[in-house]
Amino acid sequence: MSRIGVVVCHCGTNIAGVVDVERVAAEAAKLPNVVFAVTNKYTCSEPGQATMKAAIEEHQLDRLVICSCSPRMHEATFRRMLKDTRINPYMLEIANLREQCAWVHTDKEKATEKAIDLMRMAVAKVEQNKPLFTSTIPIHKKCLIIGGGIAGIQAALDVADAGYQVTIVEREPSIGGHMVMLDKTFPTLDCSACISTPKMVDVGQHPNITLMTSSEVVNVGGYVGSFEVTIKQKARYVDHTKCTGCGLCETKCPTKVPSEFNQGYNKRTAIYKPFAQAVPAKPVIDPDSCKMLKEGKCGVCAKVCPLGCIDFKDTAKEYTETYGAIIVATGYDLIPWQDLYGEYGGGRYADVITGLQFERLVNASGPTEGHILRPSDGTEPKDVVIIKCVGSRDPHKGKSYCSRACCMYSAKHAHQILEKLPGANVYIFYMDVRTPGKGYEEFYDRTRADGAVYIRGRVSKIYKENGKLVCKGEDTLLGKPVSVQADMVVLATAMVPAVGVEKLTTMLGIATDPDKWVQEAHPKLRPVETQTGGIFLAGTCQGPKDIPDTVAQASAAAVKVCGLFSKDEMETSPMISGVDQQKCCGCGFCVNCCPYKAISLVEIDAREGARRVKKTVASVNSGLCQGCGCCTAACRTGAIDLSGYTNAQILKEVDALCL
């Protein structure tokens, strides 16, 4: 037999002014198992709480119903109060007599009737309540950062500076990402490499940061506080513990292939560092082009290496480690415009290039040492066309979203062309010019003052005529067709999520939007968190953004990680799903609808008659479950149930309403 106490709060006149609280208490006293029912002027006040505590002792109550304001207001207060009584904090139900009764009704009789119903529902529910206990999970204070671009670098430095261990996993041989490929950054025109490489060096030298380049995450298990992560480091064929990065091997390697870093505009060797300031500043061998690895002949690098670092028998290694938090910073790639925009030549014209290719052409450390030269014949272009929104804001061929950074970098490209090539003409085809950022509009104004010609309209076709690239389009402001004879065309192509990010998001169990950008937990209020506790977002993996926004988001994600790591253990809500393995038939319908991938099917030993059998049943990972209860409604047997909102509780609540 349960011993239920019911306290009906006056809340001054807030409730008592409309609801006959004495009648509610009197009705409560008539209910079976209710051994104590009173009204109270201010239940949440100190004296109010003291009265309740005394009553709990005096009447040996084992569960409590408080008819007061919304549980969203004081549920936590009353649970705290119960912590030092004989009642478990979860043996409490609150009937919302203020926000959802007294304040919204004027008819006293009807409001009182409703209040009695609400009280009865709460009493019926509390009878089914079971004591629940919060548990704690340990926090492994080690952070994994996936992606070594500027977002990953910034987040790593912030977390590491706070004193926590960080591992960066980068699939390329060097960190740096796209930012280090850029020449100058808008709107201040400071050199991108000059501001990013010191950060890269800091990462390389930071005592709290472990760098894992040429590596990828291959498996993720566990939950917030203790993710079990397996990282696979590809074979590098160079022993980085011995290598000093002297670079002798690179000078002697006979194999030359197009450099990825320089967008294929010059060559690199098979044993290579992607670029001069790479971190780690040590080479790796590209097994797809190395003669020794492909054909078994050559081995020049091994012969010249003074320290004997080359190991052609090197293999991929897997490391498994436990991390308390993960920051996803996988960045972006450019949309494969060649496949989508046949009208722009589909990649047939060497002088139709992307913005990123232009960055390498204009970069002092690039293949042309900073001279803007046409890729086709190495001459200086005189007339340059820049086309914006190639793939962006184009739902038919590309993506419907705006890639955000292109308006500004196109203005910067125009500025650089006009500065480096006196007398050159720059025509920018645009749909709209979007410059929301500090100093951005001013920069755009300056570019126009420099002489860039902005034409509002899309280019419909590019074709070659007399050695020129003819760009045909419409000036929608004039309402007339235009045609520009260009020497070079720069396309501001859309950002798309990095290749292969889907595999990672599936592994992590985090959601992506229809364009495959990683979904934040809340678009406004939780922009750097994911739905999965302990997994955070930084940079363009979440959506297109420019460098300042990326860095800001990376630091925000780092603060979230530091906040998590500031405690040794984390309290978890006990109001989560649990499986009655006896009832569970292992159909797995709950697995499909769980937003947190918290449910998995496991095999257990069971008995079936006289037989010992293996039985498949669902199992809830208490670290991942957030207690939505979606699984419970998918379960036909009722084997999976949500503590605090069990099927029995809700059914009894429903029954009580209709008594």
Binding site: C585, C587, G588, E608, R636, T637, N647, A648, L651
Partner: protein
């Protein structure tokens, strides 16, 4: 027919002799000439008891969950409907496909009314097929959902009266549940007394709530074998409840037929961002 029957017996005998399977589930004779019953054949000699005739109406797939089955691999005779039922049970993870040997039997329809709207007379999955495939019949969506459409046209009061009349006959025997291959929970909600999902008394309200719950539990996975309706001793048109759900699924989310493969995603276990919510 008799050729196939002897081929069936041969196959069963071979499977049992070679030890490929420990049991063959098929149809056997009864005391009544126009009825057959499911049998569990466990020895090569007993293979002679298997029959294949126009009276083999009973669905067999559900019997693989029966505790009369011995341990080891099972063989089951499957017509089109049985094969879809096997897929149903395999997809619901109640049995592994590799633990089953399916003897496919193309079927030209048996002594059951449901066979008139059968769209898969040839087994959709089998390990061996006895006899050549039979021609499929065309069944239009109108024919498939004819009973449902007729009821949909009534007013709520008329619909309620109709169902009340029907459910007043229900005796809570749970035969519909026991025969249904989609009803494969180890412990049915209706047998649970502590949670209080519903009462045990036989009255029209409880009957109808049971009927609706059963329909909702299986409707989205129904393979339209018609067993529920066939086994109902009181002749309730139960299938028109599950077919109502199937019809709605077809209307709402496109063509839908269950049990054609063993890996079709469960329609209520997935969603589309652009799903309709015009009922709001």
């Amino acid at each position: 027919m008799s050729d196939i029957q002897s081929a069936l017996r041969e196959t069963a005998k071979k499977l049992l002799t070679e030890g490929t399977v420990t049991c063959v589930i098929g149809w056997g004779e009864t005391r009544f000439p126009d009825k057959t019953t499911p049998i569990f054949v466990k020895t090569p000699e007993d293979a002679e008891k298997l029959v294949w005739n126009a009276h083999c109406v009973c669905g067999l797939a559900k019997y693989m969950l029966d505790n009369r089955c011995p341990e080891g691999k099972l063989a089951i005779c499957v017509r089109g409907c049985d094969s879809r039922a096997v897929n149903r049970i395999v997809e619901d993870k109640q049995y592994k496909r590799e633990d089953l040997y399916l003897i496919g039997l193309p079927c030209e329809g048996k002594d059951a009314p449901i066979c008139a709207t059968c769209t898969h007379r040839n087994p959709v999955v089998y390990d061996v097929l006895l006899g050549g495939p039979v021609p499929e019949i065309e069944v239009s969506q109108e024919d498939r959902f004819q009973a449902v459409t007729a009821l949909e046209g009534l007013t709520p009061a008329e619909q309620y009266d109709y169902w009340q009349k029907q459910f007043s006959k229900c005796i809570h025997c749970y035969a519909c549940r026991n025969a249904c291959p989609a009803c494969n929970c180890t412990e049915c909600y209706a047998d649970q007394y502590r949670v209080g999902w519903q009462g045990k008394q036989i009255d029209k309200a409880e009957n109808q709530v049971y009927g609706l719950t059963r329909a909702f539990h299986v409707g989205d996975r129904c393979i339209e074998c018609g067993e529920c309706e066939r086994v109902c001793p009181m002749g309730l048109p139960i299938m028109s409840q599950t077919r109502k759900i199937l019809k709605d699924i077809n209307d709402l989310w496109g063509n839908y037929e269950c049990g054609l493969t063993d890996s079709r995603p469960h329609i209520l276990g997935e969603f589309d961002l652009s799903d309709r919510d015009d009922f709001m």
